[in-house]
Amino acid sequence: MQRIGFLKPSPSWMRTTIALLGVAVFAATAASAQTAAPPRHFAIRGARIVTGAGNTIDGGTIVLEDGLITAVGRNVTVPAGAWVIEGEGLTVYPGLIDGLSTLGLPASLRVSERGRRPGFGGGGGGGGEGQQGADQPPFSRGPEDRPATTPWINAADELQIDDDSLATWRNAGFTSAMVVPEKGLFPGQGALINLAGDRPRDMVVKTPVALRVTLSSGGASRGYPGALLGVFAYIKQVFFDAAHYDQAWSIYERSPQGMERPVYDRALEPLRDALNARQWVMLPGTWAREIRRAINTGEEVGVSTLVYGAHQGYQVADVLAEHNVPVLVSLDWPHRDRNADPDADEALRVLRFRDRAPTTPSVFVQAGVQFAFYSDGITAPRTVMNNVRRAIGNGLSEDDALRALTLSPAEIFGVADRLGSLEVGKIANVVVTDGDLFDAETKVQMVFVDGRKFDVDETVTTVARGGRGGRGDSEQGEEGGDVGPMGPPLPMVNDRGPINPTAVTVIQNATILTVTHGTIENGSILIRDGKIAEVGQNITVPSGARVIDGTGKFVSPGIIDAHSHLAADAINEGSVAVSAMVGIEDVLNPDQIGIYRALAGGVTTANVLHGSANPIGGRNAVIKLRWGADAPGLLFEDAMPGIKFALGENTKRDREPDRYPATRMGVQDVIRQAFIEAQQYRSDWQEYEQSRASGNENVIPPRRDLKHETLVEVLEGKRLVHAHSYRADEILQLLRLAEEFGFRIATFQHVLEGYKVAKEIAEHGAGASTFSDWWAYKVEAYDAIPHNAALMTEKGVVVSINSDSGEEIRHLNQEAAKAMKWGGLSEDEALKLVTLNPARQLRIDDRVGSIEVGKDADLAIFSAHPLSIYAVVEQTFIDGQLYFDREHDRSLREALKQEKEALKEKHKGGRPERITTDDTLDGGREKVR
């Protein structure tokens, strides 16, 4: 994969070497240059010294001897043997530290341009390179294959001294960097290095300091994990495996006799260190939701988390502070994709992100979040400094900016006792400038690394690197130029979250469709503290209550969608036939506009399901559409957990390479095998617990397995099965299989031929969640009839109508109405299909699904009867708060338009560069069934 060998002299390499030789200083690239190097004994006299430790000394002297700082101050005597540098007009700073980089590492450990942004892409298939031809990476069939996992690689062992970029960064004042491999899910461990040395090993200051985790295999594997869902499950499983490994070995070492030895695993060895808090675990997170995921993942597996990326850190500074998680902030501020259509409309969400990302550092300072800067693949150091200036323009003090480039990274990496400030005894890493470091006109005059002096060669200002597709040299001239506006962020229209929150609301004089207690004409509803407090015709309005005139309007319970893929960054972990280890909760995306659009359709609760690519899919997440909340805030509190199963065509469709099953026989076999394994897993644990209970200390516990663990919950009735299905025969087979293992299917999803076996479904006690009138899009949907919902209802099945679509979710009331036309359901029965019945199916009917005292005040107000196609949702309430209001929506439109125009104006002319928008699906997947 190495396209340009680093051992091969490139023209820029030659230039660098010659330039360095020319000024007769030590050159890292050529041992012969050593002879020209003076002794490491310098004194800079009469300079302005910014110590970085809180004080600035004007007209001070700093002495560097044998690689260390031996004196700093105003009244320092210059030693006789020192080479004296007159510091008049110069400023001395601590050498800058790049908090995260791949400097000095071979191309084989780096990722090409497209895969670089943390949190971008879904791993597995997303990597791109190396996927064609005979050179395919290995196919992974599960966590046990350890895909793209090489944590044993230590940056310190891989350094290449002849990397010409080292000089480039030194020239800009960077004397140290934390370098770590970046390719793969567990690419390796990082080392803090100085950016000069005779031999690679001279450069290492400390190692290992951090174990990197990414969310993309970067093309280093295929198969599992194939989506972001699997990536999180995989990361967790590997850490759980490491904990088990650690435990198993210590039990074994205690008394090996009579015990089979645990299997050596080089991938897990370094993770033991991480678990024992001997090094950081770096987890990526650019957007706020990704940062939260990183924090949660780190806590779940029990490691010390260091987040990197953090462009939307401004939104989660309090969370980071609360969890005491330090951050490496990428200085590669978001910007427009160079390859984008110049006329394409960019979303306000993206523009706001671009505008506010540079406020993150100042927000972190205020919130007390520890952070350091890193260059994140920027190839021109000048761009790095320009981008620091943007942070300063957005409220960061120069002192704090300097700190984020010096002492703060030193503290984070545990080397503050030797780096990060100009103090006696510390390593002599020093940068000397002709002015203020953050002044655009300032030039670096000389740099000291380990007390060696380097003069600055201005011809080398850009890193020339191979393997960085799309970011070649030719662009670099521009990179240092226009980097985007320096000024503070523009004000934001408040367009998310509850509208005018109030504790008490009364809806008056409306037609109330209670669903459980008939229709109340001219009725009122009193809402207090999120609950329905009273329903009836004579309700006194408490003082201070918000009053909503419902004259001529219809109030229904909030619509519930029993099958949605809303608000998720990934849907299908289809790389394996059983993906019970993955969960939608890991990838919830509260920023998806589809949430708001569904709210505008009166929807208040949705069952967010894994896709149907495999017989056993992933865990679901039941959410309330609390637009504006973060991912945990979306979750329906205490909703019973569930899992997606799938039968039929989607699961057995051809896949590359062949994936079992390919028939309905195989589908059932996969499910049966999975439960047999889960039963075995359960009994292994029971056996272990018994053995422990009987006093046996020397037993190695079974390995915790997220897949089996989930299925054991199904066996024990603690997790609901939602089974995607079409044909009558497959429905029947799964019923019988569940009965064989002693659990009940909670719902059949889609279940288009459910009407043929409605009797059996009803007897089993399963629910059915179907489409209104879709058919003939595939063979197993050819016998679908629009009477399905009505006919199953008639035969005693609890039926709901679901959307499975970001579009259809917006008019589920109309879809329910179709069951009146086809099959003759009554109005009440029809309305139940999208309110009470899905609530019953999800076991949340004690909280939602009807308008009853004590239930959550999740309501939709319609302009006409909701079963009329002409009905429009006017307001939607969740927990008694107004989350959608048609009037409010209209009133905001102009302001949002103006904000967007202002943002576009402010950011126009910025250099177009690589992808900065996230890969969010907009919830608009149409009819993927």
Binding site: W775, D783, I785, E794, K821, D889, L921, E926
Partner: protein
């Protein structure tokens, strides 16, 4: 729905139904009596009567007397409308979406102006009876084709007939041109980075230039054919010549405002007639469309807004905005199995700014006029083809039932695959 049919002839001598005239329709007169007639061409007629004979509407009015021997359909308390028109569909061209061998709508090759949908229409498709049971009586079946290419010609058909010859109303109503896209160009499931814009633009421009050179070639061909020494016959150029001469319009599949604008400029530059098909962002260029008097066959109203920052209801509001601007449009499903949901696409626009009467026109007369058959279809008027439906109410509302359907002057058995399966499994004990 068989019961409905029976109830329809309860009031008359059912024996007549069995007469030879039934099969041919020739002399048999059918009378729809006593319903409210929404002619679309004028005000509704209370307690009116529609007479049908020989495939045509022969009389409409409040004071029409029913001739002896007519089969009478009692419509008291019911409403009578022109049959609904799905202005662009895949009816008869596909049966099961994911089974490509059941699909005859997308031929290989970029430029297929000479291909005709009617050639491949499958009269026995199970989808057709399901569709007409909800009041859709005629539709354009159109081929698809790839971006930047010409997919073939769309055929206007009745949704009834033993053979395609019996179904055909107009073999060709326009030629499908998929406007060259400048879109994202990302691969399957949006994996991988988008192709650079410059690359996409280059390809797009080349495609537009190709289309222009095809048109030029067809004009040259026509001139050569008219000359003393005609060249070898070229079916593609011959077919395209009908568009070049203005005889047939291009049905230009275009959704974004940029695509639509480009198509309008293209039409002007090359002096061809176009109808925009799709039109998701037509609202952005509504004034331009009105000014150029170019009509639109609209796709789904029940759709997501195209831009993240567009109003949540933008797709619902699109038809109303076009109406306000004076753009002529009709609705289409661009599908087959979902063709029966056509009335709901129209209804959805009503609370968002489209008057109900206009919504009704957009599934009846507008599409007929846009496609050049307004003199034969789209209203209940004497002399028009008798595609008529009788309903329990507003045909755009969901709960409304369709009681009687006449296609090409024939009463239609409303039984279909869905109804049969329903009855069969409902009886399961």
């Amino acid at each position: 729905m068989r019961t409905n049919r029976l109830s329809g002839c309860l009031g008359v001598l059912c024996l007549l139904v069995a007469s030879p005239g039934w099969a041919q329709g020739g002399a048999q007169v059918y009378a729809i009596r006593g319903g409210t007639i929404y002619t679309v061409s004028g005000d509704p007629i209370e307690s009116g009567t529609v007479l049908i004979q020989g495939g045509l509407i022969t009389a409409v009015g409040a004071n029409v007397s029913v001739p002896a021997g007519a089969v009478v359909y009692e419509a008291a308390g019911l409403q009578v409308y022109p049959g609904l028109f799905d202005a662009m569909s895949r009816l008869g061209l596909t049966e099961i979406g994911q089974v490509t061998v059941t699909s005859d709508m997308n031929e290989l090759g970029e430029y297929n102006p000479h291909l005709l949908a009617a050639t491949a229409i499958h009269p026995a498709s199970e989808i057709i009876p399901v569709t007409r049971a909800n009041g859709i009586t005629h539709a354009v079946a159109a081929p698809t084709g790839g971006s930047g290419g010409i997919g073939g010609q769309g055929s206007l058909i009745h949704l009834d007939g033993w053979t395609v010859e019996e179904m055909l109303i107009e073999p060709s109503v326009g030629m499908v041109l998929n406007w060259p896209s400048l879109g994202g160009g990302r691969g399957f499931r949006r994996r991988g980075p988008p192709r650079p814009f410059a690359e996409r633009k280059e390809r797009h421009d080349k495609q537009v230039a190709q289309l222009e050179s095809w048109l030029e070639a067809s004009r040259h061909y026509a001139r050569a054919m008219a000359s003393g020494s005609p060249p070898r016959r070229d079916l593609r150029l011959e077919a395209l010549g009908r568009v070049a001469s203005g005889e047939l319009p291009f049905l230009v599949m275009a959704n974004s405002d940029r695509e639509i604008t480009e198509a309008l400029e293209f039409a002007e530059r090359n002096n061809v007639r176009i109808i925009i098909a799709g039109g998701r962002e037509a609202w952005k260029v509504a004034d331009l469309l009105a000014e150029k008097q170019v009509p639109v066959i609209l796709g789904a109203t029940q759709a997501l807004p195209s831009g993240e920052d567009d109003g949540y209801d933008q797709a619902y509001a699109n038809p109303g905005q076009l109406y306000e601007a004076g753009v002529k449009f009709g609705f289409a499903t661009f599908g087959a199995s979902n063709s029966r949901t056509l009335p709901y696409e129209a209804a959805m626009a009503v609370p968002y700014g489209l008057p109900w009467e206009e919504a009704l026109k957009a599934v009846t007369i507008n599409s007929a006029e846009i496609l050049g058959v307004g003199d034969r279809l789209g209203t209940i008027e004497t002399g028009k083809i008798a595609n008529v439906i009788v309903t329990t109410g507003d045909p755009l509302n969901i709960q409304t039932e369709v009681r009687f359907v006449f296609v090409n002057g024939q009463p239609i058995d409303l039984q279909n695959k869905h109804q049969s399966l329903y009855e069969k499994y409902r009886a399961r004990r």
